[in-house]
């Protein structure tokens, strides 16, 4: 029988893993195989000497499912540590996006003004286009992209969320 429909929560998890072949496949396979959601996933090496990569996963689920996800991640053999940044500490989240906008005249000027207001930088320009670089929380990027739509939004590339806890302690 389906469990009662508990409300779902959004959690940001940091996972420190051995940077070995297949480790990302293990994590992704775990999520798809057990039917968990991935809202965002980023991965990159963070210590070359230590062979360590850090995976940041944003996921949604009931509290019971979130608990399962953490435990399932933690029992993967190459996983060193799993931290739930949503509950364990105050944390910071950022995402980087590149936003391409095409237009001339008034729309072009408006795009530039909005970019300034959002502290987006121009990293490429032609006579009829800009590429903006913007960092911030995901909803800020959503908002910026939404504003660019009527001004000639061509495409957006986003990194997904990276996150870190506040204060002096590491994970």
């Amino acid at each position: 029988m389906p469990q009662t429909s508990e409300p779902t929560e959004r959690h940001t998890l940091s996972v420190l893993v051995d940077n070995e072949p297949g480790v990302l496949a293990r994590v992704i396979g775990l999520f798809s195989g057990r039917g968990y959601n991935i809202d965002s996933l980023t991965v990159s090496e963070v210590s070359h000497e230590g062979h360590l990569s850090r995976i940041t996963i944003v996921t949604t689920g009931t509290p019971m499912v979130i608990e399962q996800i953490k435990n399932q991640l933690d029992r993967l053999v190459p996983v060193h540590r799993v931290r739930d940044l949503t509950v364990e500490a105050a944390s910071l989240e950022r995402e980087l996006a590149m936003v391409k906008v095409r237009g001339v005249g008034e729309a072009r000027g408006e795009a530039l003004r909005l970019a300034e207001a959002f502290r987006a930088r121009v990293i490429d320009a032609t006579r009829e286009s800009f590429v903006f670089e913007i960092t911030g929380k995901s909803d800020k990027i959503d908002q910026f992209a939404w504003l660019m739509e009527p001004l000639g939004l061509v495409e957006v590339a986003r990194t997904g969320v990276v996150a870190i806890s506040r204060g002096p302690e590491g994970m």
């Binding site: 051995d18 396979g29 399962q68 029992r75 060193h80």
Partner: protein, 586 residues
């Protein structure tokens, strides 16, 4: 120890260092160097199976009956893919297995070479961990890590995929003593405050129950001894999952029998009505809980498990204790003694009174017959004939498996091998072969169905070749009995493709393989036929012709709660007993 040798020699050396004496395998192009290294030594015996699935099941039977790691050696491509069912089985039932697979040479990987497959990709979700070794200098470390990972924490299968050029290459071998795993450190010991809380909860219970599982068996014989001691100290009733049979003696008055879908009335009713449930090394599987929102509604639950991901997966518990069952049981026993705790005797006596009334329902009763062999009767007679012997029982999957669990009585751990989680037909014969290899003088019996046995029938050749006198005790009802039963209960008696037409003549088949065939059709002939089977020191196929229509009861219909179980003598409308929602469940 450090030494130069080839990759293939490292495999054999690592086996020797890990105390491996038997491996189950099948050769092929990509493992020829390892088979060559095997040829040059005499310490490790290789048992040639007839199908790689059976190699893994044999290793499982070997592991489960001996407590050692089961070892498998297969070739690339089809060798590895054939092993997948066995690996998944070992993962679901937490059996320590190390499977070495050959792979095409590193420069060919990804080129769709002959007998190439992405073994680590395919086996990633069906192993505890796996490795592809590209450098011979990593091989020794990986092999030792594989044995460490397979048997520590919650046990499971580990695959090591070795390309052929790595097997030929020469590199440095390091001994197991030099290997410390970088990340994998399962938590074995519980925190003392949790132990204290647990014993206080047990002592405060009025209607307690111990619900034990395969984790107690996996934790070793000492864990079973400690379970018995804790049960003796407290007087608490004990039930067990399919996987946990034998951890607690069936002869004990405190034993309620197996619980779950085909468990006893008293075990399931006690689970439903208890006020404190102590789950020890089990995982609240759907076969156990029935309808989740009606599962043991009034109880506080303690869950002891080595795997944190088993906690709160299906059922929310009040007191989780992460640790090895054996160590936690030892802590509980000593905490109980140190505090000199006592149960509430009056409450416990009343609880036992209730349990005895449930017991009096005699839920395993069946209608005996002089004309036709009832499958339950066959298991009872098999048990009676073998109970004083050194016996190991494996099963296939289906009705016969449930009857074996209900009617064969286990007094010791490691005597019972069955495919619980995955439910793999074809498990029993290779598992019996593995157990027989680990216990050459014991009586190893595969309680089988005529449909399941055909899935790995070819292993009869293995048994004959290696002089392993396993007994295949077939309850032959000419149906896939459990499928037929579900079709009767859920699908209006439309027996779609569950009748086994064109069955082989099992007596002639035994003969063809070089074994011994025995057929029995009458209840009156059964004891003599079983005695003959036991006395033969050769592989035997025993074709026991049983009642075709018999159903396996008690049964908790899908989607129902523990206190809604159906007993064999109830005259009820079975179709109405299962809701439409229940029919969606398996």
């Amino acid at each position: 120890m450090e030494k130069q040798m080839t990759g293939a020699e490292m495999v054999i050396q690592a086996f020797a260092d890990q105390g491996v004496s038997h491996i189950f395998g099948y050769p092929g192009g990509a493992v020829l160097p390892i088979y060559d290294a095997l040829f040059h030594q005499n310490e490790i015996e290789h048992i040639l199976v007839r199908h790689e699935q059976a190699a893994v099941h044999s290793a499982e039977g070997y592991a489960r009956s001996s407590g050692k790691v089961g070892v498998v050696l297969v070739t690339s491509g089809p060798g590895a893919t054939n092993a997948v069912t066995g690996l998944t089985d070992a993962l679901m039932d937490s059996i320590p297995v190390v499977c070495i697979s050959g792979q095409v040479a590193t420069h060919l990987i990804g080129n769709d070479a002959f007998q190439e497959c992405d073994t680590v990709g395919i086996t990633r979700p069906c192993t505890k961990h796996n490795y592809l070794v590209r450098d011979v200098n990593d091989l020794a470390r990986v092999l030792h890590e594989a044995f460490y990972v397979a048997q520590n924490g919650r046990p499971g299968p580990v695959v090591v995929d070795i390309p052929k050029d790595v097997q030929f290459a020469t590199g440095t071998y390091v001994g197991r003593e030099n290997i410390v795993h970088k990340t994998y450190r399962p938590k074995l010991n519980a925190e003392q405050p949790q132990i204290a809380a647990a014993v206080e909860m047990i002592a405060g219970a009025k209607k307690p129950i111990f619900y034990t599982g395969g984790g107690v068996i996996n934790a070793g014989p000492e864990a079973s001894r400690l379970l018995r001691e804790l049960a003796r100290l407290t007087g608490v009733p004990v039930t067990s999952t399919l996987m946990g049979l034998g951890a607690f003696p069936a002869a004990s008055r405190q034993w309620l029998g197996m619980l779950g879908m085909h468990g006893t009335y008293e075990a399931n009713m006690a689970m439903h009505d208890c006020d404190v449930m102590v789950c020890i090394g089990a995982r609240f599987d759907d076969r156990i809980t029935g309808r989740l929102d009606a599962f043991s509604p009034g109880s506080k639950k303690i869950h002891i498990d080595i795997d944190p991901s088993s906690i709160n997966k299906n059922v929310k518990v009040d007191l989780p204790i992460i640790g090895d069952c054996g160590r936690v049981l030892a802590d509980l026993v000593s905490a109980w003694k140190a505090r000199d705790l006592q149960m509430d005797r009056a409450a416990l006596d009343a609880w036992w009174g209730q349990i005895d009334r449930w017991r009096a329902r005699n839920c395993l009763a069946y209608r005996a017959s002089d004309e036709i062999i009832k499958p339950q009767y066959a298991i009872e007679r098999l048990y009676a004939a073998t109970k004083d012997k050194d016996v190991y029982i494996s099963t296939e999957v289906g009705q016969h498996q449930m009857w074996a669990a209900q009617f064969f009585r286990f007094e010791e751990p490691n005597r019972w091998m069955t495919s619980g989680g995955l439910g793999t037909m074809g498990y029993g014969l290779p598992a019996a072969i593995g157990a027989q290899k680990a216990h050459p003088d014991a009586l190893c019996i595969d309680i089988a169905g005529e449909a399941s046995i055909l899935m790995n029938m070819q292993e009869m050749s293995t048994a004959v070749q290696f002089d392993l006198p396993v007994k295949i005790f077939i309850l032959n009802n000419k149906y896939m009995g459990m499928v037929r039963q579900w079709q009767e209960l859920l699908h209006g008696g439309r027996y779609s493709h569950s009748y086994s037409e064109a069955l082989p003549d099992f007596v002639k088949l035994a003969d063809a393989y070089g074994g011994v065939g025995i057929r029995c059709e009458k209840p009156g002939d059964l004891d003599a036929a079983i005695a003959e089977m036991i006395s033969v020191r050769r592989p035997v196929i025993f074709d026991c012709i049983v009642d075709q229509q018999e159903n396996c009861f008690p049964m908790i219909p899908s989607g129902r709660a523990h206190n809604e179980m159906i007993l064999g003598d109830m005259a009820i409308d079975l179709d109405a007993a299962i809701t439409d929602e229940g029919k969606m469940l398996v």
